[in-house]
């Protein structure tokens, strides 16, 4: 709302500069977007009016706020011709020149109209100037005066060319299915059956509360006009305006709620202006269809409630002054006040709304801060927060930096990284851009794009992780993903630099799972975006799907702008699924072993296609019958090449034996090693080296 200071002063004799007025408005809930000079001694204050205050989309509304803030009287529109805001006397008698039929009092609770003969004059310079300051282009005297009333009083008006209304009739009704209208902006529009229109005997001549029609537009040849000043249902206007994508000065006001008490007053103001401008003569009485006049809302305001909600005690006199200044009727009643809210305050619905008005004008700055006492101990944080922090710590300590990407990606990226081609992907119904039209089912595509960004900017070693939500039709889960390209460690003078591989990322996966107490295993898997043979599914103890791990296929990398030759290793874990299988650390410590462990190394040659997990399983199975209890096995060397037959591999395994109750003898350890070896020979044809 562009508020011209000199116009404001028609209503209230406010002292001080535009800056001061703007500052006052700002602290009363009206943010000021800017102040522009507007001629000598005048300025326009660009006020941002919140959606709950349609009454302040007008000069009088803001003037009422200013008057209350400064404790000054407000000049209201009066029937006195010498008044600053003069209203024409309501003419009585005479036959209606236009027939008004309101068929839908629900969507149009009030419709007032008056007919006037037009006298062709130019819009006076003062009025054109004020309209321009308010951001409205002057058009013609009749149209301009309706716009003027809209800005001044917040009541949108319209003028029809009476000669163009078939049957001299105004019929307020729903649009007929498929009914069309060419609006004032020259656009032909097709209406829907629940849109309200202002029609003549034959067809729609305006879209109620949104825009007039071109066919009944007031032109230079118009002899007689019908002024419309009405009240329309806000929800209906909003729906219509939104569906037609047509936002106007009128629709903005109506959709927030206009004053059902204003239409006749606005009409009388328009007539007064018309007479003052010599732009026309009234040719009939004011028609007013208002079948169920809206009562002022009566509310109770309790003094104790003001204190409770604000935590401050404004004096009674100040509470009354504020509410009366804002146009409310206030009567003291035990413990507080009975209050009647004016019809233009569509936002005052309950006691809390009144308390806000008191707080707003009392000044929120005058409320002394206090700290709320804690009545109960604080519950522990959401366990996901601590879990995510732990995972974040592990990964930053491992040299990965944290990435954050949007929750959505382009459909192409989602499809490229979907484990099963992505039929499950959830798309956005109303995306603003195709780049963000699909909810991510995985964190990997976002990280791959981030890697590509970094590689484009010349970084070679890029290690990123992200913790965030993933979406599927089955629900939302939180995951962690890592993506790693370049050096596995860091460049060091002692050498040892090598490119990242599958096992670097598998190590991270294992560490995260270990930290969360979850036992997992990897099994070979295949997915289109990972290199065949270097892909693993991560499973829980009962085969629960936990995640995926592997080397990104060059074709997939290439599609996302990564150099084909880069090796990119990614891994992703479902943190919620990990929580479900995680076992909290035992609360009780085990006593330290009292008898020494015995360590034996065993080197064998086995076929190289034999999974390490199978060998581990064979050894553990064999351990059941051993004299010396097997406490652990560790693969500490894996060798292929000279001395090892083709398609075979040499494995060196460290076996640790330990008994809780005795010191193991050499003989029983030796026998146990032989038994394990025998099992490996039997099951896998292993050969001892």
């Amino acid at each position: 709302m562009r508020l011209l200071v000199s116009w404001l002063k028609d209503f209230v004799d406010v002292p001080g500069s535009a800056d001061e007025i703007a500052g006052t408005l700002g602290l009363r809930g009206f943010e000021v977007a800017g102040i522009e000079p507007a001629g000598p001694g005048d300025a326009v204050i660009d006020v941002e009016v919140t959606a709950n205050r349609p009454d302040c989309l007008s000069v009088i509304g803001l003037a009422r706020e200013i008057a209350t803030a400064y404790g000054l009287p407000l000049r209201t529109p009066a029937a006195d011709p010498d008044a600053a805001i003069a209203l024409a006397a309501a003419p009585a008698g005479g036959a209606d020149r236009v027939q008004v039929i309101d068929e839908d009092a629900a969507l149009c609770p009030r419709y007032a109209a008056a007919v006037a003969e037009v006298i062709p004059v130019a819009t006076p310079a003062w009025m054109a100037g004020r309209l321009q300051a308010a951001g409205i282009r002057p058009i013609s005297a009749i149209v301009d005066l309706t716009n003027y009333v809209n800005v001044e009083l917040g009541q949108p008006m319209h003028a029809f060319d009476l000669a163009r209304l078939a049957g001299g009739t105004i019929r307020i009704r729903r649009a007929r299915p498929g009914e069309t209208i060419r609006t004032l902006d020259g656009v032909a529009r097709t209406l829907e059956a629940d849109m309200l229109v202002i029609a003549d005997a034959d067809r729609a001549q305006a879209i109620a509360g949104v825009m007039g029609g071109a066919d009944s537009e007031v032109t230079g040849s118009t002899r007689e006009v019908v002024f419309e000043s009405a009240c329309f249902d806000p929800a209906s206007v909003r729906r219509t305006s939104r569906r037609l994508q047509l936002k106007t000065e009128a629709s903005i006001r109506f959709e927030r709620g206009s004053d059902p008490g204003a239409p006749v007053m606005a009409l009388r103001r328009a007539i007064a202006l018309m007479q003052q401008m010599c732009a026309g003569r009234l040719s009939g009485p004011i028609v007013d269809r208002y079948p169920s006049p809206r009562e002022r809302r009566r509310l109770r305001l309790r003094r104790a409630r003001v204190k409770l909600l604000l935590g401050a005690t404004p004096p009674d006199a100040e509470i009354v002054r504020i509410l009366e200044g804002l146009g409310l009727e206030v009567a003291a009643a035990g413990g507080g006040w009975d209050v009647a809210a004016p019809t233009f305050r569509v936002d005052l619905l309950r006691e809390a709304d009144l308390i806000e008005e008191v707080g707003r004008h009392y000044g929120l700055d005058r409320i002394e801060p206090t700290f709320p006492p804690a009545m109960t101990p604080t519950p522990p944080p959401d366990p996901r927060i601590a879990r995510d922090r732990l995972v974040r710590r592990l990964l930053t300590a491992a040299g990965l930096s944290e990435a954050v990407s949007f929750g959505f990606i382009e459909a192409r990226a989602a499809a490229a990284f979907a484990p099963d081609g992505g039929p499950d992907a959830v798309s956005i119904a109303n995306p603003l851009s195709a780049k963000f039209d699909t909810l991510r089912a995985s964190l990997v595509p976002g990280l791959v794009d981030a890697l590509a960004h970094n590689r484009r900017h010349g970084l070679r070693d890029v290690r990123l992780f992200e913790i965030g939500a993933r979406f599927a039709a089955s629900g939302e889960t939180r995951g962690v993903a890592v993506a790693w390209t370049g050096n596995a460690g860091s460049e060091h003078w002692s050498g040892g630099g090598r490119d990242v591989d599958f096992f670097d990322v598998k190590g991270l996966v294992e560490q995260i799972c270990a930290a969360l107490g979850a036992e997992i295993r990897c099994v070979p898997a295949a997915t289109p975006f990972l290199v065949a043979g270097q892909t693993a599914a991560i499973l829980g103890p009962q085969g629960q799907a936990i995640g995926l791990l592997g080397v990104v296929a060059p074709a997939a990398a290439d599609r996302r702008g990564l150099p084909r030759q880069d090796r990119v290793v990614v891994g992703e874990l479902n943190l919620d699924a990990l929580d479900a299988i995680g076992v909290p650390a035992a609360d009780r410590t085990r006593p330290l072993p009292r008898h020494p462990a015995v360590v034996r190394d065993l080197s064998i040659i086995v076929p190289d296609a034999l999974p390490a997990a199978t060998i581990r399983g064979t050894m553990q199975a064999a351990a059941a019958d051993l004299k010396a209890p097997l406490a652990g096995t560790a693969l500490f060397d894996r060798y292929q090449g000279q001395g090892v037959p083709e398609a075979s591999v040499s494995l060196s395994i460290r076996l640790t034996f330990q008994a809780p109750d005795r010191t193991l003898t050499d003989a029983e350890v030796q026998q146990s090693v032989e038994q394990i070896l025998a099992a490996l020979v039997r099951e896998h044809g292993a050969v001892r080296r």
């Binding site: 909600l309 809390a352 709304d353 804690a374 040299g399 944290e402 119904a429 909810l439 290690r463 089955s474």
Partner: protein, 354 residues
């Protein structure tokens, strides 16, 4: 040559110490020693020589001074040599100035750094940390928050809707999520439905809006929502809580300004400005010369919200707020372009703490 006197001893000793200190190698140190103690042409030797030409009554005195100088210089040399020996590299010595062997540390994302700090501050104030789902339904996101069906916030241009619904928590039947939450306030509703007052929570999380990506807007951003509900909770408590937060987060001198505003789910509502921490309210480029920085929206929980979750609004009052984490991060780290937070450029990320 003039005859040496007592003061000269001190001068020469000081000169010797300075030369030792300047010596860059054992060889240079040895040369310095020789210049003072050598058999020929050294300082001590030249003093000895002056004895021969000195008047008889002074010979004894000069001899004493020369001896004193000799002992002092020898004493300094012994000390120096002992130190040098300690500094010499024993067998197997390593160059301790070479870089250590470690994988470089990764960095937390700046949005996490800010979020962690806020979580820590509010935890200390007795707030429980709670998280909620990012996919929501209309009731939790709008209706229950006093935003009925025709409310502008529900317009298609603000909210991102899902083309097909997503199952809710634990797949409860009928729990269909149809949109991406536009604010963390949706979690107020879920929490209040599951708990009874008193309540004191903060809810960090991601929210989504139908906004284009530009210098100052992103279609997704992060918030920290706060909610306090109890008996006798007032706007004064809201001010006190946020003022304590501001002092912790932005500096002990921070002041708070509340400007009335409008949110459907709070009444009264306010925007909160914090005195500019760069210029302390004097006016600078960061605060656009106003001295104040708008930081969050807040208010007293609207009674209609309490009614939606089955709380008695006569008995309970409360306050809520929402802080934009990006906004704080932008101001704190002077980030010109909000998109930097989402590009994940390591050159940017590496500027933030581990």
């Amino acid at each position: 040559m003039a005859l040496p006197d007592a003061a000269d001893v001190q001068v020469e000793v000081a000169r010797f110490e300075a030369e030792l200190a300047r010596a860059a190698s054992p060889r240079e140190a040895q040369a310095a020693r020789d210049r003072f103690l050598g058999r020929r042409n050294s300082v001590v030797a030249s003093w000895m020589q002056t004895i021969a030409s000195a008047p008889p009554e002074q010979k004894k005195q000069i001899g004493r001074l020369a001896n004193e100088l000799k002992q002092a210089v020898e004493e300094r040399w012994r000390r120096y040599a002992a130190g040098a020996e300690a500094a010499a590299r024993p067998a197997g010595a390593v160059d301790v100035t070479l870089p250590g062997r470690a994988r470089p540390l990764g960095h937390r994302h700046p949005l996490t750094v800010v979020r962690d700090q806020m979580e820590e501050i509010f935890s200390r104030m007795g707030f429980a940390l709670v998280e909620g789902p990012e996919v929501e339904d209309e009731w939790h996101c709008f209706d229950a928050l006093n935003m009925p069906a025709e409310h502008p916030a529900r317009d298609m241009q603000d909210t991102l809707y899902l083309a097909s619904p997503v199952a809710g928590d634990a797949g409860a039947p009928g729990d269909r999520r149809t949109l991406l939450r536009t604010h963390t306030s949706a979690m107020q509703i879920r929490y209040m439905l599951a708990h009874t007052p008193p309540i004191r929570i903060v809810v960090p999380g991601r929210v989504y809006r139908r906004d284009d990506l530009d210098l100052t807007h992103t279609p997704a951003f992060s918030q920290i929502e706060g909610l306090v509900v109890g008996e006798g909770i007032s706007l004064a408590d809201l001010k006190g809580t946020l003022a304590a937060f501001a002092r912790d987060m932005f500096g002990t001198g921070s002041r708070l300004r509340l400007r009335p505003s409008f949110f459907p789910y709070t009444e009264p509502s306010a925007e909160v400005d914090i005195s500019c921490w760069k210029c302390d309210g004097a006016g600078c480029a960061m605060c656009k010369r106003t001295g104040w920085i708008e930081i969050l929206g807040c208010g007293m929980v609207h009674p209609a919200v309490f009614e939606a979750v089955g709380y008695d609004p006569e008995r309970y009052t409360g306050f809520a707020w929402g802080i934009g984490i990006e906004r704080v991060a932008i101001l704190r780290y002077q980030v010109e372009d909000i998109r930097l937070f989402y590009e994940n450029d390591l050159r940017f990320l590496e500027q933030f703490p581990h």
